[in-house]
Point group: C2
Chain length 425, copies 2
């Protein structure tokens, strides 16, 4: 999605952001906060003539306390740069994303980024300790605490995590970085059915427990996509489902022992059909590539209908099957992959070019299906501009009504990222 | 603190809570939501003639998904009952409190309870997946999601976590329960100085990493308190500082090996002077008793001036020393203990009975001291009635101003737990 704005401002300081917002608010000029602009639902892109406020030049790392693990930085720091910085102190960022090379931490906060480590380190609502935010009228809200515990009044920072820039512009972040693991291992397994995938998940929680750091699904159609479009190859023969399990821990020998015992149990009980373990970085990277390069592989088909939903695990793969039955004949492929450990499915369909008849087969059917299972129509991508009118499929009327009241309270002139997240009704 | 209310209502259902609030809101009758009434700052106690809404009869467990670990229950369930329930499915509650035998999960949410497992499982903002809340006007806000990821609109549930019943009455909770550890070990160590305690913490993060589940401090004056007042005995000889480290993991042998290696390193490098490891439940319980029974031991002295603050680790014990110098001579004792792992100090002073001159030595000195280090004047106990006017010591004017606007938006008649949390100015 490309925007049409004529003005992009690149402030360096919080005071500059404050001055911009004060000016715009007084004149009722709409603004769009923009980080690395890596979002998938058009949240950081101007719709009409909004002024873009880019955090690109706000990229200072302010402090790192290597004992508590608390990092404080400006909103425009790139995730990969932060990972490199904390890594030198034996720490790691509590989240990881495919877009890490260009996404900004401020944008990650504004969109409540999920990603690959959520299973282990939890959501940003747990990791973010403090925020500095400039409100619509230019007022600076200082909640940039570095404390793990602070029960003095409402914890306002949570308002801004995942609010897609509609309540304020995040300028500073304080975040808790866990210890960097000494040992990372990856297992890649083949399963005969999705119910075996769930059995594998149950066993992994019991046997790998504290060292489990990712549990990802790749279905056969996904594997075919990276084989056909990127010429990648699988380390094991063909199965209907593949599971990528990552462990991270402080003792390589202990981790390997747990993983070997776990795999042995899975093979003996017939839960998995085949599997391989990678401990060398290159082999690990190759296996992760099968999962991480799926988005890239899909683009080779032409047009990609992308969906990112949360579902109860018992319904997780049912949606892929239902969609394949409904739209399979009209598309090149219907594939399902994602973070089983978080209940987060990425469902993708492709055609050589955009087709309205295919879109009509998908929407609103998919949202009704997800809603029928009490799932979420956007697990981690947000609503942005593209999905905002589907909010009622995942949120109650009373909840949306309260959201609108809060938006009006905090941005009475409606200058902050209008036309995003909240429905137009 | 004892209240003076004449009316206590014990609804069984959300609809009943809704009817009560609708009635009270229309007539501008103030209410106090009350769980197990175990708070320490008077948050759940009526100040004048407020109607008490007790969640005592709302104690149904609604569902438990043993694969995802999601528990859904009514707000009045007692924490220990929930722990017993999920324990049968090899899960554990993500927090643990001394008051577990009587506190209600709804009250824990409303006060953002911290407790003994925060170091491992993080805060309730990360663990709570959904809430059902009755708003001031009786409207039921259904955010009782069971999903780990849901980025559709503002995540309203966070508003109510830690809001001490001033924005709504929590009636239903959905919470993520981690796998129950197979193996729990405790080490009890003696250190010569507080800087050695911090060295020990640093080493524990590196070497115990994913199995570290508690890092607690007991100073010599605290040890003397349980010895003198409860006749408990220490498993090691006398030191200025004691550290209690708990590990929880899935493999007892691995955990023991990590812990032994860690202790060996600490002894060899002289970071700790002496230490003992407990693996049997009785011995573990005895060691935990030294820490958990401190509140009880203090009561034997007569009057207890209790403080619960968050501080940067470099300043953590400085407050105890400053207070001892200032008020030591006027008191029976000044002791410091708490969750070093979370930066959370419990500072206590005792006299045989309440003395205003001693109080004048403590307050506002202590709040100024904490504020000077950018700490929190209430780490986990909340502000309630007793501490609300000190909120500016930990929160900025712009933050408190926004809190008040939100309170007015959501409770325009001010019926929900008035006189609590927000300052009277």
């Amino acid at each position: 999605m490309a925007g049409t704005s004529q003005v992009v401002l690149r402030p360096k300081t919080t005071d500059e952001v404050s001055a911009i917002l004060k000016y715009c608010n007084e004149r009722k000029i709409a603004v769009v906060p923009q980080g690395g602009n890596t979002g998938l639902v058009g949240g950081s892109v101007p719709v009409f003539d909004e002024v873009v406020i880019s955090t690109q030049l706000m990229n200072n790392i302010i402090s790192l306390d290597d004992l508590s693990g608390v990092l404080v930085c400006q909103a425009g720091c790139v995730l990969a740069t932060l990972e490199d910085h904390v890594s030198a102190y034996n720490l790691t960022m509590p989240y990881d994303l495919g877009a890490k090379g260009s996404c900004h931490i401020g944008g990650n906060i504004a969109t409540n980024a999920g990603g690959l480590r959520l299973l282990r380190y939890g959501s940003l609502h747990g990791s973010v300790l403090g925020l500095e935010v400039v409100l619509a009228n230019g007022e600076v809200l200082d909640c940039l605490s570095t404390l793990r515990k602070d029960n003095t009044g409402y914890d306002l920072k949570h308002l801004f995590i995942g609010s897609e820039g509609t309540l304020g512009v995040v300028t500073g972040v304080s975040i808790l970085c866990p210890q960097k693991p000494n040992s990372v291992n990856v297992a890649f397994l083949g399963c005969d059915s999705f119910s075996r995938v769930l059995d594998t998940f149950k066993q992994s929680k019991q046997q790998l427990a504290e060292i489990l750091s990712a549990f990802e699904l790749i279905d056969a159609a996904s594997m075919l996509t990276v084989k056909e479009n990127l010429n990648l190859s699988s380390p094991i023969e063909d199965y209907p489902f593949y599971v990528l399990i990552e462990t991270s821990g402080s003792d390589g020998n202990h981790d390997k022992e747990k993983l070997d015992r776990f795999l042995e149990h899975l093979m003996e009980t017939g839960i998995v059909e085949n599997g391989t373990v990678a401990t060398e970085p290159t082999k690990i990277q190759n296996i992760w590539g099968l999962r991480e390069r799926l988005a890239e592989a899909l683009m080779h088909d032409g047009y990609n209908y992308k969906y990112d939903v949360s579902l109860p695990l018992s319904k997780f793969y049912g949606l892929v099957e239902a969609m394949r039955e409904r739209a399979g004949a009209a598309t090149i492929r219907v594939i399902g992959y994602g973070h089983v450990g978080d209940g987060n499915l990425h469902l993708n369909l492709t055609t050589s070019e955009y087709r309205q008849d295919v879109m009509d087969l998908i929407e609103p059917y998919i949202y009704d299906w997800v809603s029928g299972c009490h799932g979420s129509i956007s697990a981690e991508h947000g609503l942005g501009f593209k999905k905002k009118d589907f909010i009622y499929h995942s949120k109650s009327k009373s909840a949306v009504s309260l959201m609108k009241k809060m938006k009006h309270l905090m941005d009475p002139n409606g200058i902050l990222n209008p036309y995003k997240m909240l429905p137009s009704d």
